[in-house]
Amino acid sequence: MQALFDDPGFSIMATGFLVGAAAAMLGPFLILRRAAMLSDAISHSIVLGIVAVWLLTGAVSGPLQILGAALTGVLTVVLTEMIAATGRVKSDAAIGLVFPALFAAGVLLLNLYASDVHIDTHTVLLGEIGFVWLDTLEVAGLSVPRALVWMGAAAAADLAFITLFWKELKIGTFDPVLAHAMGLAPRALFYVLLFLTSGTAVAAFDAVGAILFIAFIVMPPATAYLLTDRLERMVPIGVAVAGIASLGGYGLALQWDVSISGMMAVVTGACLGLAVLAAPRHGVVAAMLRRARSRRENETRALVVHLATHEDTAARREENVAAALRLHLDWPDRRAREVLVKGVAAGLVRREGEALLLTDEGRRAAEALLEPWRRGGG
């Protein structure tokens, strides 16, 4: 066991995984409420909280730091809502006002008082996940990396929260009015969610810094949202993405000798990119195929209806020929030929010299479209 914790690689990957997993538990509720950018605001402004708690108490990690700095995250949201509530600023602009101000104050305090401690402006952005194994803590006779301990605690708190309040969170996310009517206090629950988000961001701060945390809390749930329609599955999918990201990110970072936390976030983004393109139902490719198929179906429908409309009329001679498809339906040459070939192959249309004739099946298809009330009614 101790050998495991002494291995830097394990500590780094385990910390990265816990950051991603803890964030993936909370993220779905944020993106489903369209509040993903609150995590952006929170993860920036905890910098002020971290610096303030450090200046006041001297604590750089541990429960005091996590709880104290997490309050700044909640404060950001409260201030944003207060500014939006004056009715003078739209809520998106309010977010864009509050967190840069708090973040700027935090960076300035760092500049003034903390130029030589470990939380310098560089760490704010990058985190130091590569060094987490250096700073250890005695837990149950084992010497465990400090970041791993606090990240584990944060992940456990998040897991306990979503397990205990699963039903309340679910109703509050999809139907806040109903949740309110049922006495489930959705607003209070949302604030607890934001508090835990801030706390997790603070715990993750040493490992991944303030800004990369956004990658871990937004992208895995976004990936899951493209892969499933069920909230129950979004959390495990998000956790799986976190697993892939920590393993793959660490491997690639070693390979190319680049930032480990940055690479983990990049791999998370690659997972999202893959889901955007190739998700079975909600991906871009699937949507394009679906559109192409329905366009083809519509064209075949247009062909049989066109033929059926002129079937027994005097204009039949000039309407029901291949040339009319180009002129009257305004189809380009190639498309007219393709549709015709498909119609013949499907047994809806047959050709007699120049003339295009409907088969019995084609006539039935046209009637079903033109006079749908007859269908099945007999």
Partner: protein, 378 residues
Amino acid sequence: MGLVEILSDHTLQTVAIGAAILGAVSGVLGAFAVLRQQSLMGDALSHAALPGICLGFLWAGSRDLGAILGGALAAGALAALTVMAMTRLTRLKTDAALGSVLSFYFALGIVLLTLIQRQAGAGQAGLEAFLFGQAAAILREDLQVMGVLALASLGAVALLWKEFKLVTFDPVFARTLGLPVVALEAVLTVMVAVAVVIGLQMVGVVLMAAMIVAPAVAARQWVTRLGPMVVISAAIGMGAGVTGALISAMGRGLATGPLVVLAASAAVLVSILLAPGRGVIWDWMKRRAERRALGGQRVLTAIHALAAEHGDPEYPAEQSMLDVYFGGGTAAALDRLEARGAVRRAAHFRTEGVHWVLTPQGQAEAEDILAGGEGDRP
């Protein structure tokens, strides 16, 4: 350092001119972004510029501003396109798309930054300044690049003023007029990326969001028309930029970005509180005056009703009785009524409390209020 020395110092002049250019451009373009509710797009684009900066550096092989800004612009434009594509082609909402793009591009930038660090050694020191801004590092030649970009974007705004205005306030109407709305919106978004690029050296990628949002929000409080708003927004941006940049350039190694952002935030705070007609404080004072006037009117009509009930226009109403009737707190209202001569104190026994009698003026006022039916006119 005295004022004359500040004005003649070469570095400070450069810094001040750069800050003024930045403030003008971000103020003008931010006004459109805020009105189009795209405040957070500025945030995403500024973070997304980081990989572009790194690629520009890698491409040029040195800290060549043209290449770096070109890279940043390309990355910003690509990020904007990614956000648009994600929201249009998949079911992800704007917030999740912004959060994903912001964090993914930033992570990519971090990875590239560490790559450059390994390769170039000392050369990357110049790049770190792009994170939080280092006004003192701006060179005279840099001003030319910034100036050209600024002229190009401000010129575009001047040329397409009417079109941009229409697209901002009524895109549907703009479409019915046959304007290329999507293209115009894309141009406005890409120009936000230009503003970000101009601010990179001054404010840095992390805090540029505030320079887009803050001056525009502050300006919006003072005026209701687009033209004046754009001008005031540019002025506030310039003021905040010059203030922050000068403090940073003179001071003890304080990063410029946070100072500029805090100056802009202060402008927002003052505007929201004090802007004439719209400010929160005026609003609050007006409401207080109205509440007081209403309280006075109610007390006045109550005394009048008591007098009528007793058939004595000079009936002395006891203050403690009025307190009981209104649930307390009539003293202040009575004092104000007395001050404007609507009531006067009546003689009373020493053992009793103060009594009040309507003056003829007070009677007329009370009857006027009652004739108005509601009695709550101002």
